[in-house]
């Protein structure tokens, strides 16, 4: 009986494992292998170069630029969607009129493809007739304000991050809202009877009890930030001249535009290690939470 069950487990898992193995594990291991070569991506002949690619990474100013931008993006991911999502969730949870409609509206962007979000924001940032510059003209009275948000190295990355955060906020909000419904209402009622003001209830009861939701939101946000590629590709293409490059984009450029597949693989290994350490921290936190709430 036992044996039979094990057998069926293996059989039923096999298709998923096969697909996962062929499309995730194998390429992953392959990119580890290529990171030690000078392969250009299509020539059948290539050489082993040992740790050269990794040594090069740490000399490459473009890598420093990409890792700095990735760090900026991660910090922004920790702040923007998390705080905005939390704020919206707390606000909508008070039972404002029409809160259901607002919930749907705020959630809507997450249903859009990143490419569409990128295109909408390209129009918002358009220098001559975009919504943002037109609004700035209207508010400040400046005539012909035509700052090119996506074409200036000083603002390109920030502009993309804002667009990305706009999309992510809805997801954070929904997770926080789910977390809020899990907070027993008698706790808040008891506090209210004791005359605890609303803001102290939020600070001392609601926020601590939202910890599980926060862990999920933060982890998703950071992982999504590391994956942030499509919206960048559409909005700036990593430009102007690398100024908005992230690690993921830098890897793509080196591999597919400059045909340095070996070097690109080395960058992807570094990116993988960063993502792995974040995921490990995430699972540890989840386990701790599990211990607390079990």
């Amino acid at each position: 009986m036992e044996q039979r069950e094990t057998f069926w487990r293996i059989v039923l898992l096999a298709p998923a494992l096969l697909v996962f193995g062929v499309f995730v594990v194998w390429p992953l291991l392959d990119s580890f292998r290529y990171s030690f070569t000078d392969w250009n991506g299509f020539d059948p002949n290539y050489n082993l170069v040992g740790l050269d690619n990794f040594a090069r990474i740490f000399r490459d100013p473009e890598f420093r630029n990409a890792i700095l931008n990735t760090a900026i993006w991660i910090v922004a991911a920790l702040l923007l969607p998390v705080l905005a999502g939390l704020g919206l969730a707390l606000l909508l949870n008070t039972g404002v009129r029409g809160s259901r409609v607002f919930k749907s509206i705020f959630y809507l962007p997450i249903c859009l493809a990143a490419v569409i979000v990128g295109q909408i924001w390209i129009w918002i940032y358009q220098p001559d007739w975009g919504l943002l510059n037109t609004a700035i003209e209207a508010v400040t009275g400046v005539r012909r304000f035509n700052f090119a948000w996506l074409a200036e190295p000083s603002s390109a990355l920030g502009a993309v991050i804002v667009a990305w955060a706009w999309q992510q906020t809805g997801l954070a909000m929904v997770i926080f809202l789910a977390g809020l419904t899990a907070i027993p209402s008698d706790l808040l009622e008891a506090a209210a009877i004791d005359g605890v003001p609303r803001w102290r209830q939020t600070l001392h009861i609601v926020l601590p009890m939202l910890r599980p939701a926060t862990v999920v939101v933060v982890a998703l946000s950071v992982i999504n930030a590391l994956k942030g590629f499509d919206i960048l590709y559409i909005m700036t293409g990593g430009g102007p001249f690398h100024s908005s490059n992230t690690l993921a984009f830098f890897m793509y450029e080196e591999s597919f535009k400059k045909y340095r597949m070996g070097y690109g693989s080395a960058i992807s290994v570094v990116l993988f290690l960063i993502a792995l350490s974040i995921i490990v921290i995430y699972f540890r936190q989840l386990r701790k939470l599990g211990e607390i709430y079990d």
């Binding site: 057998f7 991506g41 020539d43 090119a148 074409a151 102007p240 001249f241 400059k258 045909y259």
Partner: protein, 422 residues
């Protein structure tokens, strides 16, 4: 059956069936073709051309078009997987050199002489675009010429009746237009490559084609006085306010629209702009026209810049005979060539195409190329792709801030030297 045996049988069956499911179902004798002519008109035109070929020869064509930018990566991935289509479109120059060097492409010297392609392909194009490492690989399909396309009404209204012939003329025209409140030059360098023509022409007009060839192959340096001189002239133009604002925020079509609307007077672009404008109902000669990039220094050969689109045959083509027939026919049939040139706003590489099939503007472009001393590929086709990445970024950076050419050239040379080492 024991469970373990059942599992083995299941896995075994899966292993047998999987390749069948993944394998393509194309007919055995079809010539597989991939190309980047995916614009509405281009795709329709090429489908008609392939159908005509099948009707004539009975050889089927399995067509798989891929968008321009994706094609650049996609075709190399297919080369890496040893699964190139029998025939694919490609840009002559450094990109073709790249795949030829990797051993992926078929030498078509025998076909070239058997089909007498020397008699139909313009010699300047044949010499520059089809030979690699001394052997014949590419068959040209069409080519383009980059010139200064302008809005005649805007120029006339500003009082400019003779188009600039020298650098000083251009600076003067720029001032006249600015005084009238018109942006003299539109440039859409968001995707970087449209800026390259400025570098190409300025370098060719000052240092000449031989020096430029050296720079493109890595034998000269971006820190040379020749390069700095060209960049300095470009900077003069930027400093004089000749370029419309925010070029890095615009695409080439945005720049074309600025000229078509009359917000800007001219743009340096390839002849495909005529296809774009014709599609919008603009009349060649009245709504738009072009002049040659002005002469800058005396005694420098007159070079023209542009890309050549061609066809390559994979070294391991499954239907090599069919592939050769198709490619030879695409280049040598004057009706096909005339039709294609018209659709793409391109110039035919076939000398037998009747000049009357062109618009007046394209006829002049054809004559300009014929009268030139040399035909040079534009930057991103003249230098190896990894180096082109470096240069294209430099052009965009320059358009953003042109204040320190020396530092920019030092940085570019360091990155270019590194890219050449590959």
């Amino acid at each position: 059956m024991k469970p373990w045996h059942l599992m083995k049988a299941t896995l075994g069956a899966t292993a047998l069936v999987a390749p069948l499911m993944l394998g393509s179902a194309s007919a055995e004798d079809a010539v597989s073709v991939s190309h980047y002519f995916t614009g509405e008109l281009g795709q329709k035109g090429i489908t008609e051309i392939f159908t005509e070929f099948t009707d004539k020869t009975g050889i089927a064509v399995a067509d798989s078009p891929i968008g321009h930018e994706d094609f650049k990566t996609g075709i190399l991935v297919r080369a890496a997987g040893n699964s190139l289509p029998d025939v694919f479109s490609y840009w002559a120059g450094a990109r073709t050199q790249f795949v030829v060097d990797a051993g992926n492409i078929m030498d078509i010297g025998d076909m070239w002489s058997a089909d007498k392609l020397d008699d139909v392909v313009a010699k300047s194009v044949a010499d520059g675009a089809t030979l690699y490492n001394g052997k014949r690989y590419l068959v040209p399909f069409g080519y383009h010429y980059a010139g200064m396309f302008y809005n005649p009404k805007v120029m006339t209204d500003a009082g400019i009746t003779t188009m600039p012939k020298t650098w000083d003329d251009l600076l003067a025209a720029c001032k006249t237009l600015k005084d009238k409140g018109i942006d003299p030059i539109a440039l859409g360098s968001k995707n970087r490559w449209p800026a390259q023509f400025w570098f190409d022409y300025l370098l060719l007009r000052t240092a000449g084609p031989d020096y430029r060839a050296k720079l493109m192959s890595g034998a000269a340096s971006y820190t040379d006085a020749e390069v700095k001189k060209a960049m300095g002239l470009w900077k003069d133009l930027v400093d004089a306010g000749c370029f419309a604002a925010n070029s890095n925020a615009n695409d080439w079509t945005d720049a074309s629209d600025q000229v078509a609307r009359g917000d800007a007077a001219m743009t340096l672009m390839g002849t495909w702009i005529t296809g774009y404008w014709n599609g919008q109902g603009l009349q060649p000669g009245t709504d738009y026209d072009f002049f040659e990039f002005p002469m800058v220094a005396e005694g420098v050969p007159n070079a023209v810049v542009g890309p050549v689109d061609g066809w390559l045959i994979a070294a391991n083509a499954k239907n090599a005979e069919g592939a050769k027939k198709l490619v030879a026919w695409l280049a040598s049939d004057p009706a096909v060539q005339a039709k294609w040139a018209q659709i793409q706003g391109a110039l035919s590489a076939n000398v037998k195409v009747d000049a009357s099939t062109y618009t007046p503007v394209m006829r002049r472009a054809l004559k300009t190329v014929a009268d030139a001393d040399a035909f040079a590929f534009n930057y991103d086709l003249a230098t190896p792709p990894p180096v082109a990445e470096v240069g294209l970024n430099m052009f965009a950076e320059f358009m953003n801030d042109s204040s320190n050419i020396d530092a920019l050239m030092d940085k570019t040379q360091a990155a270019a030297a590194d890219a050449f080492k590959q």
